[in-house]
Amino acid sequence: MKLIFSIFLCLFCSSFLIYDHQERADFEVGMQNGGLFKVIALHDKHGLIDTYRANIVAPVCEDRVCYDVNLIFNWNLIGEFIDFGILSEEPLTKLDHIPFLPEDYQKLQNILRNQNLSFVKIPAAELVIKSDKPKLDGYSGATKETVKKEVIEGALYTCYTLWHIANGAVVDSIKNSTKSALDKELIAKIINQRSQTNNYFLINHLDLTSYTENIDAILSLMTQSKGYFSKNAFERIPETLFESKSVRDYIISNYVNLDYYTQKAILKKLEKVKHHPELSRFLIGQINRTNTFQNQKLIALLLHHLEGETFLGLVTNLKENSIPVSDENLEEIKKINEAYQINISEIDEL
C-alpha cells in the first residue's frame, strides 16, 4: 500500500487514495515506449463497474533531460479521462527540474481531459522547430506557436506523453471491458448518469438482445436528447424492433415532435419492415399540405408497404386534401391502381 496525493480539477485539494500495486489487473495496455500499465476496474457498492484506475510509470524527456513520472490515472466507464493523482514525494517537473506549480497541475488536468487539442495530433518530432541556436524558447528548438498556446511552458513533452497515455489505446480497452460487462443493471446505471456521451456508448455497443431487453429505456433517452442523438439512435436500433409494439407506440406518440432528420431515419428503417395497420394509418395522417417533400417520402414508403386498406386510405387522403404527388409516386400509384381500378384522376401532380 502506498499513499498518494490526488489532484482534482478545480478543488486542488489533496485527498488520500489507496493504490494496491499487487491488485489483479483487469487488463494491460501498451505504451508507445514499449512499456505496459495495468488497469483495474473499481466497483460500486452494488458490484457494478464504477471507474477504471491505473498506476502510470513512464519516462518523460524535456530537452534531453529525462525522468520517470509516477502517477495514478482515473477513467470513467466509457474511457473518458477523469483525473490524476501524484505521489507526494514524486512531483512533476518542468524544464531544468523546476517543480510543477499548482496552476500547472490544474492546466495538465484540463489538457488531459481535452479532446480538441491540436498539438497531440502532431508527430512528436515536429513539435518544435529545430534550431542551431541553443536554448531558444527554453528548448534546443522553438516550440511552434500553435503548440505553445495549448501546453504548459517547459513541460511540452510531459503534456504530450501523458495525453497520449490518458487518451490512447486505453480508451478502447476500457470500452471493451465495459461492453463485455453490460447487463440490465449496468445499462440502467449508465443511462442514469444522464450523459449524452454515455448514451452514445450504449446505442453503439448494445447487441440485439440488449436492445430488445432495454428498448423502452433507450426510447426514453430520445425525448431528452440533444443534437442528432435521436436520429443516430433510431439508425442503430435493429430493424426487427421496428415491428415491436414499443417502437410503434413511440413513433405514433412522438413522431410529430421529432426533428426532420430523426423522422427521416425512422422512415428509412420502416422501408425494410412490415407495417402494422395502425402505423400505416398514422403515416397516412402525416401527409398534409404543409409538408412538401416529406410527403413524397411518406407516399413512397406507403406505396411499398401496402397492407389491407392502405392504398385506399392513401388515395383518399391525397384527393381530399389536394396533396400534390411527384411524377415517380404518381407512376407507382397508377401501376398499383391497375388492381384496384379506383378513380385517381383528381390527384394533383407536384
Partner: protein, 612 residues
C-alpha cells in the same frame, strides 16, 4: 496594354487621360479596387509600411511637344484624423526627373489636384509615380491637357461617363459568353460553389475582383479558416473545403500559410470553369425580377465584360449583385421586435461587426528604424500595445457603412497600426524591446465580417440555432458559436467613439443545417447566395460567417445549380419540387473524400456530440 488615347477637340487641343492602374510597370505600388463603386475607379497605392516603394511607370505618347497642364486625382487620406503633414506623399516624374509638385496633401476627398504647367520636350516619355513616404499615397488618374478651357470634372458619375467615352469601354464591352451559372466573388464560398457546380456538370464563370482566390483566407487578408466540416446531417459536405483549404492555421501569419495556389489550381483544374480574376462586377441588368446580364470591369485595364446565364450567385460578401439587381436586403442590427431574438437590441441600429486590418512584425539581426509619424493618432504609454502581431481584434468600422465608408474604415485600421508602431519604435519606455523588430506585413485589403445580408424565403434567427429548430431543407451545417463582435470597452475608453479593437461574445450551439431557403433571394428569381451575405439576422450571422461554413454553402450552391440546370428550374422551384435531388447530392458530397482531414485548427467551441 496601356489605355491611352488622344482626345482632340475641334481646336486641335490635346487631353490625355491616364489611369494609373493601367501602368505597364507597377513597381512597388499595388492596385486597390476596394472602393471603386464609391470613388469611381481602382487606383495605385504605395503600401510600403513606412518605406517608400519602387516607382511605378508607363510610356506616354504625346501628339505634340509643348506646354501641358497636369491634373492628378488623389487625396490626403490621413487628414480626416490629423491636420499635421500628410501620410501618403508622392511626385510625378518625367523621364526620371521628378516634377516639383508634391501630391497627396492638398485635399481630404478624392479630387483633382492642379499640378500646374509642365513642358513636354519629347513626344514619347516615361511617366513615373515616385512614392515619398511609404505610407499609402494613392493616385487614381493623371490628365495632361493643352486645352485652356479644359477643367477636370469632380462628379463621380460624370467622370465615369468621361472615362467610358474616352476609352470606349461601354461601346465595346467584351462578351464573356454563355454560361449555366455565373458566380460573383472568389472567396471560399464562391470558389467552392464554382468547383462544386463544375464537377456536377455545370458550365461556370467565376468572377473575382482580386488577382487571387480565397477572399478573407487569401494571403491578402490572412484570416484562417474557422468552423467545422463533415458534420451531420450531411457529413460529406466540407470535403471540398478540406481539399482546397490551407493545412496550417493562424491569423496574420506569413504568406505561405494561406496556400493561394492550392485554391487557384483547384479552380484551374476544372474544365467547366472560366475564371475571371481582376474583374469587379458592378452592373446588373434584370427583367421582371430575373437577372439577365452581369457586367464586370477589369480592375487593371478598365475593360468591360458581359456575362449571361440563367442562374447567378452572389458570393461577394457585400450582396453587391443582389443590391444592384434590386434584391431585398438587411443591414445593421435588427431590433428584438423583428425576430424576437434574445440577443437582439431593443432598438435596431446600424452597428455591424467590423473589418480587420491585421499585421505582424519580424525580428531582424540588426536594429531597424521606423518613421516618427506626425500624422498619426495621439499616442502615449497607456495607449501603447506592446505586441508584434495584430490579430482579428484589430477591427474597425462598427457603426459605419461597410460599402460607402469602407475606405475610411480600412484607412483607420492602418492608421491605428502605424500610430502604435511608430510609438513603440520611437517613444515607448520599452522601445529597446522593439529595436530589432521590423513591420513585415500590414493588410491593405481589410477583412470584412459583415455588410449587407440578402433576404431569402427564410431569414435564419437566433432561436433556430439555440433551440435547434431544424427544417427539412437544411443544408450546410454551421457550427461556430454565435460570435458577435462589439467595440472593445477598454479601447473605447482610450479612443472615445473611435475604437479600433473589438471583443467577441459567444453563444455555443450544436451544428445546425442552414435552410436552403436562406441561400436564394426572395425577390430575384435566379439569384442564389453563399457566404456572409445570405439570409440571416445579424445575430445568426455570428455563426454562419465562418469560412469553412461559407465554403460548405458554396458546395451546396454548386449542387443546387446542377439540379436547376437539369430540371430547368430556379432555386425556389428546386426547393418546392426537387429538394430530394439536392439532398441526394449533399449526401454524396463533391469534394475528394479520401484526403485526410488535417485542418485541425480553429474549429470553435461547438456543442459537439461525442459518439463513443
Amino acid at each position: 496594354m496601356l489605355f491611352l488615347q488622344v482626345f482632340a477637340n475641334a481646336q486641335k487641343h490635346t487631353t490625355l487621360f491616364i489611369e494609373t492602374e493601367s501602368f505597364e510597370n507597377k513597381g512597388g505600388w499595388v492596385i486597390d479596387q476596394q472602393f471603386m463603386d464609391v470613388m469611381g475607379s481602382s487606383f495605385l497605392m504605395a503600401h510600403g509600411m513606412g518605406i517608400p516603394v519602387a516607382d511605378a511607370s508607363t510610356k506616354v505618347s504625346f501628339p505634340n511637344k509643348g506646354t501641358y497642364h497636369v491634373y492628378v486625382r488623389t487625396r490626403n487620406w490621413s487628414s480626416q484624423w490629423s491636420k499635421a503633414e500628410a501620410a501618403g506623399l508622392f511626385q510625378l516624374a518625367i523621364d526620371g526627373k521628378p516634377l516639383a509638385k508634391i501630391y497627396g496633401k492638398d485635399h481630404a476627398d478624392w479630387a483633382w489636384t492642379d499640378g500646374g504647367e509642365i513642358t513636354i520636350a519629347n513626344k514619347e516619355i516615361i511617366l513615373s509615380l515616385k512614392d515619398l513616404t511609404g505610407f499609402n499615397g494613392r493616385c487614381d488618374a493623371i490628365i495632361f491637357t493643352n486645352d485652356p478651357l479644359f477643367k477636370p470634372v469632380e462628379s463621380i458619375k460624370i467622370l465615369n461617363e468621361f472615362r467610358n467615352t474616352y476609352f470606349g469601354f461601354d461601346r465595346n464591352p467584351r462578351d464573356a459568353g454563355e454560361f449555366d451559372f455565373v458566380i460573383v466573388g472568389g472567396g471560399l464560398a464562391g470558389t467552392c460553389a464554382a468547383i462544386s457546380a463544375a464537377r456536377n456538370g455545370v458550365k461556370v464563370a467565376l468572377i473575382q475582383n482580386r488577382p487571387l482566390l480565397g477572399g478573407n483566407n487569401s494571403s491578402e487578408v490572412r484570416v484562417h479558416l474557422g468552423g467545422r466540416i463533415n458534420l451531420e446531417p450531411y457529413p460529406a459536405l466540407g470535403n471540398l473545403v478540406n481539399e482546397i483549404g490551407p493545412d496550417e492555421g493562424g491569423n496574420a501569419q506569413p504568406k505561405s500559410y494561406y496556400e493561394d495556389d492550392k485554391k487557384l489550381n483547384a479552380v484551374l483544374n476544372e474544365p467547366n470553369i472560366s475564371l475571371f480574376l481582376n474583374h469587379h462586377a458592378n452592373k446588373v441588368e434584370t427583367e421582371n425580377g430575373t437577372i439577365k446580364r452581369v457586367f464586370a470591369t477589369n480592375i487593371e485595364t478598365g475593360e468591360k465584360v458581359i456575362f449571361k446565364a440563367p442562374l447567378f450567385a452572389d458570393c461577394t460578401g457585400d450582396g453587391t449583385i443582389g443590391r444592384l439587381a434590386g434584391a431585398e436586403y438587411m443591414t445593421g442590427r435588427e431590433s428584438k421586435s423583428v425576430y424576437n431574438e434574445p440577443t437582439a437590441p431593443e432598438v435596431g441600429d446600424n452597428l455591424t461587426m467590423g473589418a480587420s486590418v491585421q499585421w505582424f512584425s519580424e525580428k531582424k539581426e540588426d536594429a531597424v528604424t521606423f518613421p516618427e509619424i506626425k500624422w498619426g493618432m495621439e499616442w502615449d504609454e497607456a495607449k501603447s500595445e506592446e505586441i508584434t502581431k495584430g490579430d482579428w481584434e484589430w477591427e474597425t468600422g462598427m457603426g459605419l457603412d461597410m460599402t460607402l465608408d469602407f475606405e475610411q474604415i480600412r484607412d483607420y485600421g492602418m492608421l491605428a497600426v502605424y500610430s502604435n508602431w511608430s510609438y513603440l519604435k520611437n517613444k515607448s519606455v520599452n522601445k529597446a524591446k522593439f529595436a530589432n523588430e521590423s513591420l513585415r506585413w500590414v493588410a491593405y485589403i481589410a477583412g470584412k465580417r459583415e455588410s449587407a445580408r440578402l433576404k431569402g424565403d427564410y431569414v435564419l434567427r437566433e432561436q433556430d440555432l439555440t433551440e435547434r429548430l431544424v427544417y427539412p431543407d437544411g443544408t450546410a451545417p454551421t457550427s461556430w458559436t454565435i460570435d458577435l463582435h462589439y467595440p472593445d470597452p477598454e479601447n473605447s475608453k482610450l479612443f472615445p467613439g473611435a475604437a479600433f479593437k473589438s471583443i467577441a461574445k459567444h453563444i455555443k450551439i450544436y451544428p445546425y443545417p442552414i435552410p436552403f431557403r436562406c441561400l436564394y433571394s426572395k425577390n430575384i428569381n435566379n439569384l442564389m447566395m453563399a457566404g456572409r451575405d445570405i439570409s440571416v439576422s445579424h445575430v445568426a450571422l455570428g455563426t454562419v460567417r465562418l469560412m469553412r461554413t461559407c465554403g460548405m454553402m458554396g458546395e451546396v450552391l454548386g449542387m443546387a445549380a446542377s439540379v436547376c440546370k437539369k430540371e430547368n428550374t430556379n432555386p425556389r422551384g428546386l426547393y418546392q419540387k426537387h429538394f430530394d435531388q439536392l439532398e441526394a447530392l449533399m449526401i454524396t458530397g463533391v469534394g475528394n473524400p479520401n484526403i485526410p482531414n488535417t485542418q485541425d485548427y480553429n474549429k470553435g467551441g461547438t456543442l459537439m456530440e461525442i459518439k463513443n
